[in-house]
């Protein structure tokens, strides 16, 4: 019995340690990739930091270490009064669907997934629109007319990137050849830069001179090999132009930071429902900075800006792979 009590005290203390003092601060939950993944989760972190520096507010954060912690973390944050609770990643979907009805007064924000509960805001990104723009840039920068795409794990989300990219490349060069590769079918595909390098070499041997990597850590290998072999690459999610200045054509930006910033700014009053972050509201885009300004000519920029306007205005619709699990172009 003494043992049991001890264990309870420890659990209680651990709970306090994790949640901190009770209060109505918002909370941010990072997914397994970790806060500093140079990509998705880090973008969420920088959005939260921007909110902190502008408002002087404070928030609680938890990094997931295992699948089993998700429900526990959400419940503990909700019970100690955090509001709203923001979480990054589609993997929270099922858990949130269970947890949200138990805390009707708490607002939840989930990024990259749709959860239909009255107190949940679901934020999804139009990655295909951003990919369309970098596809246009790739086709315009390519001298050989052949461009490449290297995806991470073969899941519908990554096919959505690929499909948008192909549509964009075809829009400026109907004869463009697009070589597509997926790294693998297991989560290891997100962290295999050696295979990313080999895929890039194989695509270069087949004539590709611009390669778009939507592959997490695997993309680091793709960008490296592209720089070594003297061709251009395109980064993803965060701005990766600085990794190889002058060798990375651009990066497809997914503004997770804006989504987090908006949620934290609205605080408890955050509206629930389904939110789409696309070109129209600054949710996706392409990166232009001092590292790649020499690569993007005024012509290219004008063409892409025109496409941006027509997509944002609704005149041009980029097909979303996940709407019907099919891509109209190969």
């Amino acid at each position: 019995m003494a043992k049991l009590t001890n264990w309870r005290v420890m659990a209680f203390v651990a709970g306090l340690g994790m949640a901190g003092a009770a209060g109505a601060d918002p909370a941010l939950v990072f997914d397994l990739g970790g806060k500093f993944d140079k990509s998705f989760n880090e973008a969420a972190y920088s959005g939260a930091q921007r909110w902190v520096s502008e408002t002087g507010g404070s928030y609680r954060e938890i990094e997931m270490q295992s699948e089993a912690q998700r429900e526990q973390a959400l419940r503990r944050l909700a019970e100690t009064g955090s509001n709203p609770i923001v979480m990054t990643g589609f993997a929270f979907g099922n858990v949130l669907n269970e947890v949200a009805p138990d805390y009707p007064d708490t607002k939840f924000v989930i990024i990259d997934m749709v959860v239909e509960q009255p107190n949940v805001r679901s934020v999804v990104f139009q990655e295909h629109e951003g990919s369309y723009l970098v596809g246009m840039l790739a086709a315009m920068a390519s001298r050989s007319g052949t461009v490449g795409f290297i995806g991470g794990m073969d899941i519908p989300l990554i096919r959505k990137f690929a499909c948008g990219y192909v549509q964009g490349a075809r829009a400026v060069n109907p004869d463009a050849v697009i070589i597509q590769n997926m790294t693998g079918t297991t989560p290891a595909a997100w962290n295999d830069p050696v295979k990313g390098s080999e895929l890039a070499r194989a695509q270069i041997a087949q004539g590709a001179d611009v390669i778009y990597a939507a592959a997490g850590g695997t993309g680091v290998g793709v960008l490296q090999t592209a720089a070594d072999e003297g061709i251009l690459s395109i980064g993803v999610d965060s701005n990766q132009n600085h990794l190889h200045p002058g060798k990375v054509l651009t990066s497809m930006l997914k503004r997770v930071d804006n989504a987090v910033y908006n949620a934290l700014s609205q605080g408890k009053a955050v509206e629930s429902g389904f939110f789409v972050m696309g070109l129209a509201n600054g949710g996706v885009g392409y990166a232009l900075d001092e590292h790649n300004e020499a690569l993007i000519t005024a012509d290219m920029q004008a063409t892409v800006d025109e496409a941006t306007d027509s997509i944002a205005g609704g005149a041009l619709v980029v097909h979303d792979y996940m709407s019907d699990n099919a891509c109209p172009v190969e």
Partner: protein
């Protein structure tokens, strides 16, 4: 398919096979001496991180290699202490090392470089670059010999040649030296070795140390030659494929070379042709990725000869028992 495509696929096979081969030979020394090692993956990962980190800090690929080898040796030492001195379960020790490596590399990388568990990219001097063998340039235009010698044999990084040379060396050590005879004996019947007045403990530590050195080279090769830096979990299961290759090769060095080249070739083909069509039948890339494991299972199941592991493998040795 023209000659340049074939050369390109062969080069890709060699690049992909090299880490497998080094890890496979590492496992061969350890397992031939009776110490199972499923911690190859963890040692490679640790070596990959420390080689990249030290290469970044010092700007020297050689210091990086040294750091990689030393870090893998340290893990080998842990494995040795747990499984030789304290006679713990070798599989559990190996699994623990893998977890330790996966967590520690990211943790140290984050506190050292603050870049999300990876190292900055290595600059030119801090990487192993391809070396041109003598006469490679001069022979490049000769028919047949040119493409094969200049295109395929020459132009790899130094560690690739070390890996290939390690194969005959391993064969010679195992089958032509007294040390090799004792190593093999200690994996088959340690009692007999002990009776002959040779220290089982010392021999097993030696085997585990050689294993660490080879894993260290394998990890350094991945981080400082194939890549320019460390990314979390970058070994991506190659330590386990190397174990599969070791079983496939039935714990013999030349066959290990063959198995690793075959597995490398399969991966190279899978990388190049997402869906390989052979006379009307389309082979999906997933099957190509799974082939190394399928082949290993077939070998293990005894369909193609028998794979018999060293008799004393996995059994801690104690004089009293």
């Amino acid at each position: 398919m023209d000659a340049s495509t074939i050369i390109e696929i062969l080069n890709s096979s060699v690049r992909l096979a090299t880490p497998l081969l080094l890890a496979c030979l590492a496992g061969l020394y350890s397992e031939r001496a009776g110490i199972f090692d499923i911690g190859l993956e963890g040692k490679m990962l640790t070596a990959a991180f420390f080689s990249a980190a030290v290469a970044v800090a010092s700007g020297s690929a050689w210091l990086g290699l040294l750091a990689g080898v030393v870090s893998a040796l340290a893990l080998s030492g842990l494995h040795g202490v747990a499984s030789i001195t304290f006679r713990g379960n070798q599989l559990i020790s190996g699994v623990a090392l893998n977890f330790l490596a996966a967590g520690m590399t990211v943790l140290v990388a984050q506190s050292w470089f603050g870049q999300g568990g990876r190292t900055p990219s290595l600059q030119a001097g801090a990487r192993f670059t391809p070396v041109d063998l003598p006469f490679a340039r001069a022979l490049a235009d000769t028919p047949v010999v040119g493409p094969v010698y200049s295109g395929f044999v020459s132009g790899h990084t130094l560690l690739v040649y070390i890996a290939v040379l390690a194969v005959p060396l391993t064969w010679w050590v195992l089958y032509r030296t007294r040390l090799g005879l004792r190593l093999r004996a200690v994996g088959e019947n340690p009692g007999a070795v002990d009776t002959a007045g040779v220290s089982v403990i010392r021999l097993r530590y030696m085997a585990v140390a050689i294993c660490g050195v080879l894993c260290g080279i394998a990890g350094s090769h991945m981080a400082t030659a194939l890549q320019a830096g460390f990314v979390k979990d970058m070994t991506a299961g190659r330590g386990f494929i190397a174990l599969a290759a070791l079983i496939f090769a039935k714990w013999r060095p030349w066959q290990a070379l063959g198995a690793c080249l075959l597995f490398g070739f399969l991966e190279a083909v899978a990388v190049r042709y997402q869906n390989l069509s052979l006379g009307g039948i389309t082979i999906p890339v997933q099957l190509m990725d799974a082939l190394p494991y399928i082949l290993t299972v077939i070998i293990l199941a005894g369909f193609v000869g028998k794979a018999i592991p060293p008799a004393a493998g996995g059994i801690p040795y104690s004089k009293e028992a």
